[in-house]
Structures are given as C-alpha cells and as structure tokens.
C-alpha cells in the first residue's frame, strides 16, 4: 500500500490535498483486487448489522472488526500525505446497496470529529457501482466542498472538524441486484497524535 506509492506520488497527493480550501484528496490504486476481495471476505465472515433509522440512514455496518495492520498502514499513508502524525480512532466497514443512504444527521449524531482529525475512506468494492448515487459528499457550513465518488480500490482523505459533515447520496434502483451493485467502504477516523 504505502510501499506502492513513490515519493513523487506522495508529493503530488500532498500537493493536491493541501491545495483544497479544506484539505481533501481521492486517488486510485491503493490496494489490488485480491486484497479487496480478501477484505470483503473477512468483513463478511465477521458479519454486518443493519442500520435503519429513516431520518439518519439505511446501510449495513461492521464497527467491531479490528484489522490493526490495515488500519496502521492506512494511517501511515495518511500521515505521509497530510504531514501529520496520526493515530487510529473509530473504524467502520460500511456496505451500501440499492436504497442505501446516510444523511448528515447520521454523521452529526455519531461522535463528532475533533478539530485536526481526518477521515480516510478505502473503497474495497468488487466493481464500479452500477447505479447512480453512493457518492460521499462533504459539507462545511452548508456548502459541499468535496465529493468522493464510488471507485473500487481507491482511497480518499478529508480533513474533518466539528463543522465538517458528510452525507452518502442515496443509491438508486438502477443498481442491479448482484454483488457488483454493492459498495464496500472502510471509514477510518484518524486523530492527531
């Protein structure tokens, strides 16, 4: 993962990340298809619980599986890009399908991200989402400033604070009812060390 990123690539990502008014970047090729498949299998074996509160969202989540090596590797990569020393906070594996969504109220109701924290998203889906929707939209003071599109094997890093919120756009019925219509994401809270 980190080893796959050259110093030049890291420098480019850092430049892109810091170039945003609120630092944010998305880039591809972070993991390979086999790593993603292995991760999907491990999370599936661990299980998901269904989250369904109409005013907040509808999705499946696993927030108990601890893959310390993966989390540490991703935190190190995020540290290289952001220039910050980071520790891992909350980790959530989220599975979204047709009809799934998560509103900012869901993000607000969860424990808030402290100032100086980051959110890393790793997309370990099997294939591109065959539907419209699923984007993770980050907002600050009512304005969307960054959109993370569903992109298998890609990663996104966004600076969070108590005034930055995220929502996941509703996934429409255009998604085919097959495994490739599932969106698998790991969301990692990274805290300043």
């Amino acid at each position: 993962m980190s080893a796959g990123q050259t110093n030049d690539a890291i420098a480019e990502l850092r430049e892109a990340y810091l170039d945003m008014p609120i630092p944010a970047v998305q880039w591809g090729g972070v993991i390979g298809p086999s790593t993603a498949a292995d991760l999907r299998a491990r999370v599936a074996a661990s299980g998901y619980r269904s989250f369904d509160l109409a005013h907040r969202g509808r999705y499946d989540v696993n927030d108990w599986l601890l893959d310390r090596d993966l989390f540490a590797t991703l935190a190190a990569l995020a540290g290289e890009i952001s220039g910050a020393k980071l520790t891992v906070g909350r980790a959530r594996f989220v599975r979204s399908v047709r009809g799934s969504y998560a509103l900012t109220r869901d993000d607000q109701t969860s424990a808030p991200f402290p100032a100086g924290s980051l959110e890393l998203t790793l997309d370990f889906s099997a294939a591109p989402l065959e539907s419209t929707g699923g984007e993770a939209c980050y907002r600050h003071r009512g304005q969307t400033f960054f959109i993370v599109k569903p992109a298998p094997l890609a990663c996104a890093l966004v600076a969070r604070s108590p005034t930055v919120f995220r929502y996941d756009r509703y996934i429409s019925h255009h998604a085919h009812p097959s495994p490739t219509s599932e969106l698998h994401r790991l969301r990692l809270e990274l805290l300043s060390a």
Binding site: L53, H55, G99, L103, C137, Y170, S172, H173
Partner: protein, 206 residues
C-alpha cells in the same frame, strides 16, 4: 362564485375533521377527487408549459418549477387554494387558522426521490403540508408518500431511536394529502421506478 378547480363540497365534509385528528402517525388526511372532473388534466397541461429545473441535493433528486408559479392556470389554482372558502374549510378540518400557502410543481421521473425529513423549521413556520397529484400520460410505479412513526427516547434528549412505516400513500390523480408539520412529521417520497409522478405541493402558513 363557483370554484373552477376544487370540489368544495368534498373538502367541506364535516367528518374529515375527526379523520384528521385521529389519524396516525401524525394528523393527516387523504382526500380523493379533490379536483373537479377534468381539472387534474388541465393543471397537468399547464404544468407542462411551466419551466422546470433539476433539483439535486442531500435528500432529493427531482425536477421543480420556480417557487412562484407563472402560468395563468397555475396561478389561478394557487389563488383558489388560498381563497377564503378553502381556508374556511381547512380551518374546520385542521383546527388551524391558515393565511397563505406556497405552491410549486414537482416532477419525479425514474430514479427520483425525496428522502425522509419532517418539513419542520421553527423559523419558517410551516403549519400544514399538502401534495396534490395530477394526471400523467404514464402511470407511475413507486413515488408513494411514506409516513413514519417515530419513537423518541426522553432520556436521550428526545432523540428518535426507531422509525417504522405507518402509512404508504399512492400518488393517485386528483388526490390531495394534507398533513400537520411538526418535529416528528417524518415522511419521504419513495423512489419512482417507472412512469412520471407529477404534483403541486407546498405548505400552508398561519
């Protein structure tokens, strides 16, 4: 003067007030044949001549007219909806003194939706929401108005801790749905999967 669009006799049925008060999960009423015969098509044709804009944000994806309707037929309907005669019947029905209303056209095509929300905004003062469904050339699949029953936890700052579907209302032509806007008037428009759903919707204000 005889109303052009709205069947006042139907709206004036005194039993509706009881239906409103006893309905769950929050006060609402479903009234079929709200419009006089043929007027649903007249309003649909007028709406077809109104400019629509794509709307896409956190909770919705649809097409809508501007907040102020411009077509003379639609403006005439809006005037009738907020006339003394209609407001007097709505006062009996809802127990609320209503003075004015917003009215806007909405078009939902396949893939369009409106996710769960309450409409409630303290500073805005919406009292009663309405949705009047119009005739469309293609029958719609999906697009139901879904009302949720909410369970709140008094020990957790009244946070909503459970939501279940309490009512599912088909968007039948010439049907109007009215409901009381409040903190827990949680509702959504389910995704349209085929056809087109067309409505005139908005809120009445005190």
């Amino acid at each position: 003067m005889t109303p052009r669009f709205i069947d006042l006799d139907h709206l004036g049925d005194p039993s509706l007030a009881l239906d409103w008060a006893e309905s769950a999960p929050f006060p609402h009423i479903i009234l079929d044949d709200f419009l006089r015969a043929g007027q649903s098509k007249v309003l649909f044709d007028a709406l077809c001549e109104e400019a629509l804009v794509d709307m896409r944000d956190e909770i919705y994806e649809c097409e809508a007219t501007a907040v102020a309707l411009t077509h003379p037929t639609l403006r005439a309907f809006h005037d009738e909806l907020t006339s003394d005669a209609v407001r007097a019947r709505l006062r009996v029905l809802t127990g609320k003194e209503l003075t004015r209303a917003d009215c806007r056209g909405f078009v939902y095509r396949p893939g369009h939706y409106l996710l769960p929300h309450s409409d409630h905004q303290e500073a805005v003062g919406r009292a009663v929401a309405f949705a009047l469904y119009l005739d469309t050339p293609e029958a719609v699949t999906g697009g139901e108005l879904e009302l949720f029953a909410c369970t709140r936890d008094v020990d957790a700052n009244d946070e909503i801790v459970a939501t279940i579907t309490a009512s599912l209302i088909e968007p039948a032509p010439s049907r109007i749905v009215l409901f009381e806007v409040g903190e827990i008037s949680l509702h959504q428009i389910r995704e349209v999967t085929a056809g087109v759903r067309v409505s005139l919707s908005g809120w009445f204000y005190p």
